[in-house]
């Protein structure tokens, strides 16, 4: 193939209808929105809320473009020379991310006591990070993994330090940035090891090469390098997931950053990291032939590949399962001593990251079993969890932010007796927290049920039992918050604590809490939808 032909084929692939650019329209819209926000800000400097409206409009358009036209593409489509992958998993996670961002932007506006002047920068950073996350969930190339993660992380460092005058905020940003840079360095090193041994940077090609190596026999040195590379790659992902032992930044950053930023970090960032984890974990254990140009990736029969890749699957599954178990247990135990609500939620986020890693471990362990149906269910469980977690955690942080505005405090003891003044908001908080525990009839239970099912199917009994006991552990600290709000007497002096549900913030919190209840009853449709996401991952 000569150079001109190559260029021509790339141009065709990019510009043709149904080509790469068409599949990339939501991301392009986000880019355009960022530019538009800055331009509008300069053109109409007196319009204080311009950034909000432009961002909201941009997100709506992106959402419209991201919603699947027909009922899901079964065939995964490699775009931009197969560095990115466009399949139902990408589509659904992207819709969830955009939905979250939309709700989040509204949240900052409704609750916001941030400076109006800084809002443009704030939304620019949020949308920039969102762009990186969209890349993360559709990564099919090791460089995109790095690119996406850095694009998602760097704005977050800045977001954590947005409150320039608070020492804690600066501390948070510094810790976050240093920790992030360190783990990114390790990850990059791991990537270079993997790419060096496997001779390619595109995931399916790497897996194919891995397969060939296994079939020809792997030397000890090669195995060492591969395992080392895999572990180092995992370090980077674990940092984004705030998985133990790479979680140290989370409590400090959550405490230092505003509740709004913490909400963004705990939901969007986590969802994207999980998407990436799925891409990497399944990418190395189940090669899907998405390649361009095809010469690089000789066609392999999935069934043979699955059998040959078993050692890799076992390694990946064990690594993720172990990390999930430690993360979940540690998060739940460490949350006990917390008096600051944001720190508590930070540990809760860590614990939930552990829960959400479990189905990934199960899915990898289940690859190739029963025509991949149980593995698909496991990924479906993850998507269900992400969808429900989105509402639960955003609602929790929204209520924390609302209470910060009225009480001027984020310490749990200061919530004492709030049920007398703001019964509605307290009920919302109780619903959200009990849903985080996983009690029926709330959506958190459905999410847990889905995850536990995946573990049973993978016969990971020890992890299953541990996950169950963790639910009991987590009861204490969530319940403590409710206990303080409901059972403790009100302090003698409290100026204002009334947040009626009919006010704008109250209404917003109700709107976020409602799905936490409704999704329990509407679990069937949600599950069906989530299982679609998993479908294309196991395309054969």
């Amino acid at each position: 193939m000569n150079f001109d032909a190559l260029v021509q084929s790339v141009i065709d692939d990019t510009l043709s209808p149904g080509g790469s650019l068409a599949a990339f329209r939501p991301e392009l819209t986000i880019c355009a929105t960022i530019v538009a926000m800055l331009v509008v800000k300069m053109a109409v400097p007196r319009w204080r809320n311009s950034a909000f409206f432009v961002a909201l409009l941009g997100l709506f358009v992106a959402m419209y473009l991201a919603l699947p036209r027909q009922w899901f593409v079964d065939v995964p489509q490699g775009i931009f020379t197969a560095t990115l992958i466009n399949d139902s998993f990408t589509i659904i996670l992207r819709v969830l991310l955009l939905l979250f961002s939309t709700l989040f932007v509204m949240f900052t506006q409704v609750v916001g006591n941030s400076d109006g002047d800084e809002m443009t920068e704030f939304y620019t950073l949020i949308l920039g990070a969102l762009l990186g996350m969209c890349l993360m969930i559709s990564a099919n190339h090791i460089l995109i993994v790095l690119l996406g993660m850095e694009m998602a992380s760097v704005p977050c460092y800045v977001l954590a330090g947005m409150q320039r005058h608070r020492a804690k905020s600066s501390e948070a940003a510094l810790k976050y940035a240093v920790f992030g840079a360190g783990t990114a360095g390790i990850m990059l090193y791991g990537m270079s090891l993997l790419v060096g041994v496997l001779g390619s940077a595109q995931l399916p090609a790497m897996t194919t090469q891995l397969l060939n190596m296994i079939q020809q026999g792997v030397s000890t040195q090669q195995a060492t390098v591969l395992i080392l590379g895999g572990l180092m790659l995992m370090v980077g992902v674990a940092f984004k997931l705030s998985a133990v032992p790479f979680h140290f930044w989370a409590p400090d950053v959550f405490e230092g950053a505003t509740a709004e930023v913490a909400a963004f970090l705990s939901v969007a960032s986590k969802a994207a990291a999980l998407g990436l984890l799925v891409r990497l974990a399944l990418g190395f254990s189940y090669p899907v032939n998405v390649g361009f140009p095809t010469e690089l990736v000789p066609h392999i029969k999935p069934d043979d590949a699955v059998v040959a890749l078993q050692p890799v699957q076992q390694f990946i599954s064990a690594m993720i399962a172990l990390m999930a178990a430690v993360t979940c247990t540690f998060g739940n135990l460490a949350a006990y001593g917390q008096n600051n609500m944001k720190r508590l939620l930070a540990y809760s986020t860590i614990a939930h990251a552990g829960y959400m890693m479990m189905p990934v471990a199960a899915a990898v362990a289940l690859v190739g079993v029963d025509g991949n149906a149980p593995a698909r269910d496991a990924i479906g469980a993850l998507v269900v969890y992400i969808a429900i977690y989105l509402f639960m955690n955003l609602a929790a942080f929204a209520i924390v932010a609302v209470l910060r505005n009225v009480l001027g405090s984020e310490e749990i003891p200061d919530y004492a007796g709030l049920v007398r003044r703001s019964p509605g908001l307290t009920v919302c908080m109780a619903i959200v927290l009990f849903s985080l525990v996983g009690l029926p009839p709330l959506a958190g239970f459905s999410a847990k049920l889905a995850i536990f099912s995946a573990l049973v199917q993978a016969k990971l009994w020890w992890l299953f039992l541990l996950a169950g006991l963790n639910t009991v552990l987590s009861l204490f600290y969530y319940l403590r918050v409710v206990r303080v709000m409901v059972l403790s007497p009100e302090p003698l002096y409290r100026d204002t604590a009334e947040v009626p549900l009919t006010s704008a913030v109250g209404l917003y919190c109700t709107v976020l809490t409602a799905p936490v209840v409704l999704l329990f009853f509407m679990f069937g449709p949600l599950l069906k939808w989530a299982n679609e996401a998993a479908h294309s991952l196991f395309f054969r």
Binding site: F452, W461, V472, F476, R483, K528
Partner: protein, 575 residues
Amino acid sequence: MPLFDSSNSQMLTWLLSLIIFLPSFGALVLCLAYRASDQSVRRFALLTTVAVLALTIWLAWPGTTPGHFTLGKPGMQNMVSHSWIPGFNIYYLLGVDGISMPLVLLTSFLSVLAMWASWPIVKHVRAYCILFLLLETGMLGVFLSLDFFLFYVFWEVMLLPMYFLIGVWGGPRREYAAIKFFLFTLVGSVLMLVAILMLYFSSDLRILSPSQLQASHVIVDQSDAARLISAGTQQHTFNILALSEMGQMSDSPFAKTMIWGQKLSLWAFLLLFIGFVIKLPSVPVHTWLPDAHVEAPTPISMILAGVLLKMGGYGVIRICYPICPDAGYSLAWLVCGLGTVSMVYGAFAALAQKDFKRLVAYSSVSHMGYVLLGIGAWSATAGLQYNSDYWSVGMNGAMFQMIAHGISSAGMFFLVGVIYDRVHHRNLDQFGGLFARMPTYGGISMVIFFAALGLPGLCGFIGEFFVVLGAWSYSKALAIIAASVVILTAGYILWTIQRVYLGPEYKGPHPEALVPMTRREIGIAAPLVAFAILFGVYPSVLFDYMKPSVQNTVNQMTTWTSDVKDAPAVTQEAK
């Protein structure tokens, strides 16, 4: 041919759903009624519970038309089935039989009394009533649901209202008691969830015959059965009846999977059993009960003792044994042993109490031990020539004991509440002479306390007698111990009566407050007294409902025993 015509099915759906969700609906109305006065809120809540009672009586009324209870029919009746979450094969599956019907009636009956007994509660009345009604939904749902998922959901739904009811309206150590209750129950229910999922994923509807499928309401007509049986993949189910059918097959799928060297059915039985005995409660997981009872307000104690404890026993009868007969057979010693230990321990602990309410709480532990012994006395273990009739007697006794205890313990807690409302203490050493000051109260107390003692002619006797009778053929030692516990029971009850009601005069604080029972209080106590006497002299009124279904359960177990356990013995002899 469809199993039932659609109009009947619709009527049943409405009837059973109304029974479960009418209290929730009432709670919703109360949520919106911002301006209502406390008294009208109370009246509305009472009215709601009365309406639910009326509906359950309608359902229990003997009759052969759908919506009424067909006496003598062993299996499930008045079943309702709607698909809810197809992805997990979860159904909205409801139904009653002779085991659940009396418990449903007991629940709605005690809810009315407990609501009426809530009049003295003045703190946050609206919130109290809302939580109370939500609790009632949970309780009725547990007894009516036949889908394991649904059962679990209702089981958990009771937790939160109960937590707040104890935590907000309880006594001085209410927060500790509430969290202890919550924690114990949650541990139990998480273990239960683990077991549920284990069973679900090893179940396979394809191995059942079309008639079994139809009997357990998995399918409506034969064409569905063919489609189901010829399905390519495993068809999991949460249907309790279908799971029971599978568990009782000689090559049960639950006995095939091994986990850590043991059969899955054994693990499932153990996990479920722990979950249920926590609720029952049995030694050594009973410690939440005295705290919860002592701190809970009177009406909530009534509900707790009268209904919530019964869920443990119900779970064991309805779920543990039918689904995992294998494990039940090999662990009969555990079940019976725990039952007997609870009886003895509870009775001794009751003897040692200084607090009136704590004494009643421990007596509950002791009395619920009978239930466990009666259920567990699997006479089949007595060799080849066993007679399952004894087990059936024991199980009937256990069922009867549950209802009788529901009446007597609710009564006792109410009576303790009556005196506590007047003198604000429960110290047994500071009472005395109440008979003279409050004659009506004294008379009512005698009947209720003697009913708990197990005096012949009152409701407590029948259950205990049958249980001991059933246990005799299983283990004479256990039966003798169980029979002698009656002496301990008599000890603490007579001693209590002596210390509280007899004696020359009342020497404790607030003697001026000892006014006779009000008409409301008599109105609450009278039905309890009436039923204590009625069930004592005419127990058939209950047995007519229970016996066919209990017998059916026992027969199934017996068939299973002869199929699975005796068969190898016979072949060995043949060799």
